[in-house]
Amino acid sequence: MSAAILPLALDNVSYASNGQAIIRGVSLAIEAGPATIILGANGAGKSVLMRLMHGLLAPSAGRVRWSEPDPASLRRRQAMVFQRPVMLRRSALANVVYALKIANIAASERQALALAALDEVGLRHLAHRPARVLSGGEQQRLALARAWALHPEVLFLDEPTANLDPGAAREIETVIKAFDAAGTKIVMATHNLGQARRLGDEVIYLHGGRVIERAPIEQFFARPASAEAAAFMKGELPWV
């Protein structure tokens, strides 16, 4: 494996769909290290911004640059967990094995790596259960296991707990912390302030497709610099 794929640089990136601007001239650098939370209201452009970073969408203008120039190597060294996990119609274990196969991991190693990943997220006992009959929380943990098995350098998470009950959400957060502890760079979109605080080291605040503010987490919550962020937090936490 060559040098790190980070930092990631966005250079005046814009994205429009059907003539509607969704991301407007975003420039920022994502460095290895601190867990980055992309915060913003619904429709602020969080999901689209992450898809631009992850390479699922191509920017309408501007550039997304990683330190690793080879697209194949880049692809297999980052992973993304979506709001609604997509499970293949096969067992939980086979879902993880599939990801390893696509990443060109030798067939002899896949099984062991996949089982270790299931262990990590606490799903080993469900390894042979068809993935699509698992509960929402279990499916999301399986999606994390699929990412874990690949030991990505960067993990993008798009509101991974938005559809889950608090218990399941806590389990997901535990796994995300394990990724962080193992040295994977976390980039997570959420509009849940509690979760942002529990998991994040820094906040990128998005509003109307623009980055309004970027700050260390404690500073952001104590003294948001922008009126938009302050209003957003007041809306989310009306009792403050």
Binding site: H54, M80, F82, V86, L88, R89, I102, R132, R146
Partner: protein, 230 residues
Amino acid sequence: MGAIAEGLHRVLALDRELWRIVALSLEVSLSAVLIATTLGLPLGAALAVKRFAGRRAVIVVLNALMGLPPVVVGLLIYLLLSRAGPLGELGLLFTPGAMVIAQSVLILPIVAALARQALEDAWREYEEQLRSLGARELDAAFTLIWDARFSLVTAVLAGLGRAAAEVGAVMIVGGNIDGVTRVMTTAIALETSKGDLPLALGLGFVLIALVLLINAAAQLVKEAAQRRFG
């Protein structure tokens, strides 16, 4: 009612000869389904996943080809396989092989077009996840075929139904030769034209019963598998 009872009685009395006709019908139609499925599923998957110029036109043409008239397909294959035709050397005309070719051509668009629709729906759900994992188009196409396998059963059954029911193509390229290329539908047509309506009717019921049986079995397998895999 009397005619139906007589027809079924006559059909069962045919025994040896009847079963040869039934067996050839199944052999020809199932072979055609096998060929059309082998070619049609990858073709449908490619159309579902790949984006290229003219894709929509190809889909429109493919959908239109689902309505190919069997006699026209029969005629085209006849021209290709006849002594003077480009493939006349093969000597396939008026053999079961020619019937398999004609039925394959007839149902390939059905299998491919219905598969394309089912796989495109699956692709809409899977695309981001598969691209995120780094799946290439070829990986994605085969993953979709495997994951949508229960929906694809319907596409294959539609092809089988069409193959088992058509008479025009096998009549022209097979010639309805007794003991060689006579299948259920051509036998029914023959008995009808001879005026033996009870026997034609009896054969018709056997044909319908067979198609029903195959569909019921496929449906049961599909449902059991779906319950198991979600």
